[in-house]
Structure formats: C-alpha cells, structure tokens
C-alpha cells in the first residue's frame, strides 16, 4: 500500500511539472515546438496514454489480468458514447451498470 507521504509527493511534483509545462508553452519561442513531427507525436500522446489507462483500469488488478464488473461498466460506457451521450451520462451509466453486476 502506498504511503500518504508518497501520495503527497506525487500530487505536489506532478502539479509543479504540469504548471511548468503550461508556463513553458507561454514563454518559449514559437519555432521550438512547431515541427510537424512534434505536433504529430503530441497529438497521438493522449490517444496512447488514455487507451492504456482504460485497459489498465478495466481489466487489471495490480499485476494480474482480471475480468469483473468493471468490464460491463466499460461496455456500457462505449455503448453510451456511440449513442452520443454526454460525459456525466457516460460515467454515471458505467457506474450504475457495474454496481448492478456487483450486487447480483
């Protein structure tokens, strides 16, 4: 189990780094990050990271692969996204579906 100190370190360091990135964007010369390669990688970065987070959060428990109520929740979330539901509806829908399975 992770300690409270480690959590605080994660919170503070990531906040400082995220702010530094925002400030750097406002401060550095336009030409530094204008290259098409950097733009392409930067556009794909959230796609890769968010996909990885979806997989990790849905079918893993620490280092093992597991299939439980969360997978049903995710399936419901995807169905709601295809039906063009809004963000709160998607999140609540997935939670309700998962909770329902959990209680069965």
């Amino acid at each position: 189990m992770i300690t409270q100190t480690s959590i605080w370190i994660a919170v503070i360091v990531s906040s400082a780094a995220c702010y530094a990135l925002k400030l750097a964007g406002m401060s550095i010369p336009q030409s530094w990050l204008a290259g098409p390669r950097i733009q392409r990688v930067a556009g794909l970065l959230p796609i890769a990271l968010l996909t990885a987070l979806v997989v990790v959060q849905t079918v893993t428990d620490h280092q093992s692969l597991v299939l439980d109520a969360r997978a049903i929740g995710l399936a419901v979330a995807i169905a709601l996204l295809i039906a063009r539901a809004s963000f709160p509806v998607v999140v609540v829908g997935a939670a309700l579906a998962s909770a329902l399975i959990h209680h069965l």
Partner: protein
C-alpha cells in the same frame, strides 16, 4: 500622429473593439462550457477518493494540477498500485499538450508579468478551444474567450471536485456503487473524441496489445508510460492521420 493619449487610446480601442453582442455571446458560450466541464469534477473528486486519496490531496490536485486527464491519470495509477514516480510520469506526459496550447495562444494573448503566471495555469483544453474559436474577432476576442472560459472552468471544476470527494467519502466502499468503473468510463469518454482517422484507431489498438502483454511482467504503472512509445512510433513518420 495623435499626441493626446486619451484620443490615441480611443482610436486603438475603436479599431479592435469587440461588439457588446459578441462579448455577451462569448461569455455565454464560455461559461456554459465551463459549467458542463466543471461538473466532470464530481467524477474526478469521487474517483480520487475511491483511489485512496484524501480530501486535501484531491482538492490540491484540482487547484494545483488543474488539467483533467492528468489528474484522472495520477489517481488512476496510484489507485491501481503504481508507484508515485509512474503516477507523476503519466500525469506529466498527458499534461504536455498544454505546452503546445500555450504556444498557440501566446502570440494572441500577449500576457506578461503576473497575468502570464496566472494565465498559464488556465491553459487547458477548454480555454484553448474557446479562445481559438474567436480567432475571427482578433486578439481581443481570443483574449476574452480565454479568460472567461479558463476562470469559469477553474471555479466550477474545483467546486464540483469537492462535491464529488465529499459524496464519495460519505458513501463508503467504491465497488458497491460502481465507482471503480467510473474511472475507466471517464478515460474512455476523454479518449473518444480523439479517435478520428485510421492512424488514431491503429495506435489505440496497438496500445491495447502492448498493455495486455506488459501488465503481467512489469510493475504497475509502467505499461501506461510505455504506451507513450506507441505515440512516438506512430507519430515519427509522416502518414495519413
């Protein structure tokens, strides 16, 4: 040349002045987006508490990190048993796009001094989107759209974070209410609008395979960081997006 400073100011502001109707429209658009996005803060607050962070840590993230995907990632990795280091790395990688937003906005916002330090914190998806949407109104429209939306999201996001955290704390075991499924649902909702074009889908599919292969063999948190390599691999060479 106009020597009278008041006249000079008048002529400049007449040249760039945003019509009142447009100003109202930008304010309405910006604030309604801010309120809607702010409500996601409830999901974040709840997810954060469900992942084992306390109320102060949860609020500190919304006040200081103030970037939705980075915050969800940090609590997601910590909640999944990842180390502080891998949580930080994932959160910072996701926050890197804000630097590109700042780069895009800086020439129009022209912020300096305290405004720049304050404004930088408000550089997020929504403030950038609303600001860029006002490009046809010139720098003044972009400026106004940025501040209205940025400040609006900041206020609502933090209020709703607190609401979500307090609610989750009062409810108890997260699995009973399906809160454990709320986190991946939030991630996929953030991901969905970005999945445009075959390259994006291919990158996502490759990421799924990579993560499934890595999870059993490397420490928690590492598979997510490793997925950044997919972005590097697919983005390195030019190709149809």
């Amino acid at each position: 040349m106009i020597s009278d400073p008041i006249l000079a100011y008048g002529s400049i502001s007449a040249m760039t002045r945003l019509p009142d109707g447009e100003r109202r429209r930008i304010r309405r658009d910006g604030l309604s987006l801010a309120f809607t996005v702010g409500m996601y803060g409830t999901a974040f607050g709840a997810a954060s508490v469900a992942s084992g962070l306390n109320l102060w840590q949860t609020s500190a993230l919304s006040l200081l990190t103030f970037s939705g995907a980075s915050q969800f990632a940090l609590v997601g990795v910590l909640g999944g048993g990842g180390s502080a280091l891998s949580a930080i790395a994932t959160s910072v990688l996701l926050g890197s796009r804000n630097a590109l937003y700042g780069l895009r906005l800086a020439p129009s916002l022209k912020l300096s001094g305290a405004r720049k330090f304050l404004g930088a914190q408000l550089v997020i998806d929504e403030s950038t989107a609303v600001s860029i949407a006002q490009e046809h109104h010139g720098d003044e429209g972009m400026h106004f759209g940025f501040w209205v939306t940025g400040l609006g999201v900041y206020v609502f996001w933090n209020l709703f974070t607190l609401l979500g955290a307090l609610t989750a704390r009062a409810m108890g075991d997260p699995a009973t209410y399906g809160l454990d499924a709320a986190v991946p649902a939030a991630f996929i909702a953030l991901l969905w609008p970005r999945l445009k074009g075959s390259k994006a889908w291919l990158a996502a599919a490759t990421t799924i395979l990579l993560v499934l292969v890595l999870v059993p063999v490397v420490p928690a948190g590492i598979p997510v960081i490793a997925s950044a390599l997919i972005a590097l691999g697919f983005g390195w060479r030019e190709g149809r997006a």
